[in-house]
Amino acid sequence: MDLNFTPEEQAFRAEIRQWVAGHLPQDISHKVHNALRLNKDDLQRWARILGKQGWHGWAWPKQFGGPGWNAVQRHLFEEECALAGAPRVVPFGPVMVAPVIMAFGSREQQERHLPGIMSGDVWWSQGYSEPGSGSDLASVKTRAERRGDVYVVNGQKTWTTLGQYGDWIFCLVRTDPSVKPQAGISFLLVDMKSPGVTVRPITMLDGEHEVNEVFFDDVQVPVGNLVGEENKGWTYAKYLLAHERTNIADVNRAKRELERLKRIARAEGVYDDARFRDQIALLEVDIVALEMMVLRVLSAESSGKQSLDVAGLLKIRGSEIQQRYTELMMLAAGPFATPFIQEAMEAGWQGDQVGAAHCAPLASHYFNYRKTTIYGGSNEVQRNIVAQTVLG
């Protein structure tokens, strides 16, 4: 038992740190450190910088062009990126669909899609959720009917994050309505430029356009875009969800945001107020405990000697902590967090602020982060899962 990283791991961390310091554009890290708005260019610029280094798919094995890092190395990479103020990598390509293509896709699909994902050139979207599906993902209604060499897709996906930028979308579609829900689902890759695909924005409570509805109206998808076997899609979907768990607790970002909370609290004069400071202290304890839990998982993954099934706990606690730091930041600013001046959330805005510049995005972020206990399997669903591990 040892809390410290090995000298090799520390050297690896130093190498990553140095590389990130030399390659992460300062205008981007400035935005991240100040919670200013990131646009498509920011995200894609960073994706391509990573891609050039072969790290946009940092969890990929070497055979598919990834660095082949182990769990600890992946964690250190994620931590160094987060602390340096890198944007979160948009996961739909490199973290979600890529592992499915590697595991179940054809050689052709692998050769066609993986390079574009790694390079950051091709933007992928996720087509899982549907109106009314909620936590019941297997209730897929979007139909795909085989007609010769194509599937004809009709239906609707929703909550498609950043789908407005998407080049491709991976979808769960129903190919056999006659069997029980899980058995009739297929996993399809769809070019979003296909005729019949329409993306409509959903405005969120903070006024931002972050998610979308995607409509499919007689969209023709070549049968070559079917991943694996027809009607086996649910298996692949579950495989994907298992992989999505990487970095699910997001504790590295929490550490960075805790530092920002302290800066804001200091500037607003509440860091030395015992009552407010206690709340920061409690959050700090929560974050250290979460980080220890993440490290335990890493250790278990690395050694393979113990199994540690706490993904549900990591999701619940990670999301609660995210919500808490956005809440405390907003409370630190108080009345000065209440103005809604969207331009003030852009980097370099020269207009008049209300209060300090750091106040502008705080309430928006608090509102926005309510999603974290809802998406990715709501915390209620996660509690069902955790209870299952305790009670059977």
């Binding site: 959903i202 009552r275 409370l331 009345p335 000065f336 509102f367 926005n368 309510r370 709501s378």
Partner: protein
């Protein structure tokens, strides 16, 4: 001891509710948000109901009603997420002006009662956080004011401001002044708040003003004004929470997952029980705040802080949980629920958040406790 509403109070409630249902539904409200967050027509509508006259003394053309009627009105405005600053213009302004010299009263109160003049409190300063005794705005002996006030409700729509300033320069006592919108040296910068309502930054530079309450009673009058605001806001929050809880119950009974209404899941049912608890505790403390408004300052301030602690907790819990229980739809702009959530979040940070008022409760704690302590 009696918590029944009189027939007149019930009629008042019904009238306001009818107005809100008809003239301030979600789509009409959305149009007002889009237009900047304040509607003169809506203000006229409230005036048309007699609400702007409600708290104005009868001698000045008002109805001379008290805190209970104010509470009834605020609950209904909260239920409808009405953004126009009724508590400011209809409750606080008359209460402060009633302490002003007779001529000032005669000049302003009838116009306030008639809805022609909107007067709001401009007390928030950058360095003050929630403390009322921190005031960097200075007044000269001949009532010329220099300073800056932040997040003034409907600031660029108001006709005049009630402005606390140190009478005679730094270190002097706080007096309350009336500043007309078009007075020399007034600068306003308007913007929207996250709940869709309107506010402004107000700067004063050697601006001529009218003395309302002198430095001997200025801070006390400001505290009283803020206590009226907190009691009004408590009622508003109860109205908003009551509606949000009802919407959530409706949603849980409609929405199906895995083939059944999600209202059948016990974990969600218990969450709703917890939400109901917070709602009823909040309603109880809204009554408490209202019925303590006319007590002596010490008892009043303690009661108001106790109420705000309970209300602040309730706003946060009910807002967050009702949002969570809606799932994805709950965090979209198109769904009315998210607007209740945002309004409740903002209200917690107005006139002192839960932490601030907990500090006040702690500071004012006595050996005995209870409603009549």
């Amino acid at each position: 001891m009696d918590f029944d509403f009189s027939d007149d109070q019930t009629s008042l409630r019904d009238a306001v509710r009818r107005y809100v249902d008809k003239d301030y539904d979600f789509e009409q409200r959305r149009a007002i948000v889009k237009a900047g967050g304040f509607s003169r027509a809506a203000w006229d509508g409230l005036a048309g109901l007699g609400l702007t006259a409600l708290a104005v003394p009868e001698a000045h053309g008002g109805l001379g009603f008290g805190p209970v009627e104010a509470m009834v009105v605020m609950e209904e405005l909260g239920r409808g997420l009405v953004m126009e600053p009724y508590a400011q213009g209809g409750l606080i302004a008359p209460a402060v002006l009633a302490q002003a010299p007779d001529a000032v009263q005669a000049d302003w109160l009838p116009r306030i009662a008639g809805g022609e003049a909107l007067v709001v409190l401009a007390h928030q300063e950058r360095a003050a956080r929630y403390r009322l005794d921190v005031c960097d705005t200075l007044a000269t002996a001949d009532h010329r004011l220099t300073g800056a006030k932040s997040v003034v409700p409907a600031g660029d729509q108001a006709d005049a401001f009630i402005v606390p300033a140190r009478a005679g320069g730094a270190g002097a006592g706080i007096a309350l002044y009336l500043v007309a919108k078009d007075a020399a040296g007034v600068a306003l910068r308007g913007y929207a708040l996250h709940d869709g309502s309107r506010a402004a930054e107000l700067t004063l530079k050697d601006t001529p003003a009218t003395l309302l309450v002198g430095p001997d009673r200025g801070l006390a009058a400001l505290e009283h004004a803020v206590d009226i605001a907190i009691a009004a806001q408590a009622a508003e929050a109860v109205g908003a929470m009551d509606r949000f809880v009802a919407l959530t119950a409706e949603y849980l009974n409609t929405r199906k997952q895995f083939g059944v209404a999600i209202a059948s899941f016990q974990a969600l049912r218990h969450r709703m029980a917890d939400v109901k608890m917070q709602l009823e505790l909040a309603r109880s403390m809204s009554y408490f705040a209202t019925l303590k408004l006319n007590e002596a300052p010490d008892a009043r301030r303690r009661a108001i802080s106790q109420a705000k602690v309970q209300l602040g907790q309730a706003m946060r819990f009910v807002g967050q949980q009702c949002t969570q229980l809606h799932g994805g739809i709950g965090v979209t702009d198109e769904y009315v629920g998210s607007h209740y959530f945002k309004r409740l979040a903002l209200m917690e940070m107005q006139f002192g958040d839960s932490m601030h008022h907990l500090g006040e409760v702690s500071r004012r704690m006595q050996d005995t406790a209870g409603v009549f302590a």
